[in-house]
């Protein structure tokens, strides 16, 4: 894979972080970067809390009950389900009925991809919280929701944040689901109800174009996204290692 980094490391960041892309040659990726930030941001804001709740349910309430086992199993399947299918699904429920591709549909698709990741890491991290914490809180007269909210979650905060970062890293590079939902847009647009540009889609479009300039831009986009995703991963892994060391 270092062939890749060599391939596009040479094509350094010129003006593209500032200027907008146009249909012809030249231009930049600014609108795609902003579009990606918006969709990934909203997707994480929907997917992360949902995933956390699922994780809390599995670890603190459902545990080994039959329904919890089903949820855990289904969540594991969703975790590795093909992302094209998530895209097609969101197209059918959030694009086709409203007769238009939209940034919000893209965000929903990304949220569905982020949720199982967060759920899984949240459950794993909560299981690392010593049972004595819970027993202690109960002994002090806490209600069950207080045990979770005031003792278990704060103790696992760092780990859960790590899981969310990993989920953000995963959805930031997702391309396939966005083809069916936010479609892409070569103009500047922050309107959530309209088609919205994103970095992966811009890469996909430009890489397939005959223009050398646009292919160059695609490589730059790929470099940006790879560096971003790897940075998020490195940060989360370092903090996760710290969290695990502190707790076990």
């Amino acid at each position: 894979m270092d062939a890749v980094s060599r391939g596009f490391a040479g094509l350094s960041l010129d003006v593209f972080t500032k200027s907008m892309s146009s249909t012809g040659t030249g231009g930049g990726l600014a609108n795609a970067i902003v579009g990606s930030l918006i969709q990934v941001g909203i997707g994480s804001m929907i997917g992360a809390p949902l995933g956390m709740m699922v994780g809390v349910y599995l670890s603190e309430v459902g545990k080994t009950s039959r329904f919890a086992s089903i949820v855990r199993f289904v969540n594991d399947i969703l975790l590795s389900a093909p992302s094209v299918l998530i895209g097609l699904f969101v197209y059918q429920i959030a694009v086709a009925p409203f007769k238009g591709f939209s940034g919000i549909a893209g965000a929903i698709a990304l949220a569905l991809l982020a949720m199982p990741v967060v759920a899984r890491t949240t459950e794993d991290i909560l299981r690392l919280v010593p049972q004595a914490y819970r027993d202690g809180a109960i002994a002090l007269g806490s209600r069950e929701n207080e045990v979770v909210r005031k003792v278990v979650l704060p103790a696992a905060f760092g780990g859960i944040l790590t899981g969310i970062l990993l989920a953000v890293a995963r959805i930031a590079g997702e391309t396939a689901p966005l083809i069916f939902t936010s479609l892409g847009n070569s103009n500047w647009s922050t309107d959530l109800t309209k088609p919205m540009a994103s970095l992966p889609i811009a890469i996909y479009r430009y890489a397939g174009s005959p223009s050398a300039d646009l292919i160059q831009l695609a490589w730059t986009g790929a470099l940006l996204i790879t560096v971003g995703v790897l940075l998020l991963n490195v940060i989360s892994r370092i903090s996760l290692a710290a969290v695990k060391r502190g707790q076990s």
Partner: protein, 322 residues
């Protein structure tokens, strides 16, 4: 995780409180959403693809013609392409991934294990579109100029493989089944290596120490102790990789050539379910039979990958890992 029975019974004796009840309900709803999402994906794919199954009958699955011009759609070319690329990718990636995992757990100097392990996990995190671009701009030209002509020459000597038959006879275009399989293999390799390593690490150290105490070599300890102890999970890791390869879109769409017909050679441009869906989607209008055919393909892919992933999870159940 062990449940402290004393604490549990204490919770039980308290009167339910509104805050606790709503807490429980909201968490339960979140869990239910997960199940509902999976069920509705299945349902929506089925309902959307129903028109295709009604028009072409159950033969949709094994019809070999995919022709948007005449509006005749059959799934077999895409299914064939999907299965060939995914299986070939596993066949290539698994032995290497297994070797890497063995190296990381048994042979590699201790100081290097963590950095190498993290490097592999990072490779697994690179977005698939980047693998696709690399395949298209770097690997495909290399395949068509060097590897494929060479392979054709080599296999020309072996009569049953040399000409006519399926394998290495077509013009070396670079894009096609073989390149797609290779890109997929490169993409799932770090994933399989990481999962297999985790499985191997879960073998109790005591078992391995026992083997060494009996005078076993590292290899004997691996084949005699580690593998039998975690055999199921090792297969689980492979199936998890297979599930990835089956549904991968972006890494494949760049290099498979996107020709929806039955492949007659490993060099031939072909298509997988995911690549057909991504490629044909922009032309498919809402309510058209083409969109129904794509959703029908999605349904087939869903059922297949659900089966593979479910099997993987059942095999991995004891260890529970990424």
């Amino acid at each position: 995780m062990m449940e402290t029975t004393a604490a549990k019974s204490l919770i039980g004796t308290r009167k339910p409180h509104l805050a606790d009840t709503s807490f429980h309900i909201s968490l339960f709803v979140a869990g239910a959403i997960v199940v509902v999402v999976l069920a509705s994906i299945l349902l929506i794919m089925f309902l959307g693809g129903r028109q295709a199954f009604e028009t072409f009958g159950i033969g949709f699955i094994w019809s070999t013609e995919w022709n948007p011009v005449t509006s005749i759609y059959g799934a077999l070319p895409a299914i064939t392409g999907t299965l060939i690329t995914a299986l070939l990718a596993i066949v290539i990636a698994w032995p290497i991934g297994f070797g890497i995992a063995f190296f990381l757990t048994e042979i590699c100097p201790r100081a290097l294990r963590a950095p190498l392990g993290i490097a592999i996990e990072l490779l697994a995190a690179i977005p698939s579109i980047v693998y696709g671009m690399w395949g298209f701009f770097v690997l495909a030209p290399f395949m068509s100029e060097s590897v494929q002509p060479w392979l054709t020459e080599v296999f020309a000597w072996i009569p049953p493989l040399g000409d006519s038959f399926f394998w290495f006879s077509a013009p070396p275009l670079g894009v096609g089944l073989m390149t797609a399989s290779l890109v997929l293999a490169v993409m799932i390799l770090p994933f399989i290596a990481a999962t297999t390593r985790d499985v191997m690490l879960s073998t109790p150290q005591l078992l391995k120490d026992g083997a060494y105490a009996m005078g076993a070599t590292r290899w004997e300890s691996l084949t005699g102790v580690v593998i039998p102890a975690v055999r199921g999970s090792l297969f689980g890791a492979v199936f998890l990789g297979l599930g990835r390869a089956l549904g991968e879109t972006m890494a494949v769409v760049f290099v498979i050539g996107n020709a929806t017909r039955m492949p007659d050679s490993l060099y031939a441009p072909s298509a997988s379910i995911a690549s057909v869906v991504a490629n044909n989607f922009p032309e498919a209008e809402t309510g058209s039979i083409q969109l129904a055919a794509l959703l029908g393909l999605g349904f087939i892919l869903f059922v297949v990958s659900f089966g593979v992933l479910a099997l993987a999870r059942l095999l991995l159940r004891q260890e529970r890992m990424a």
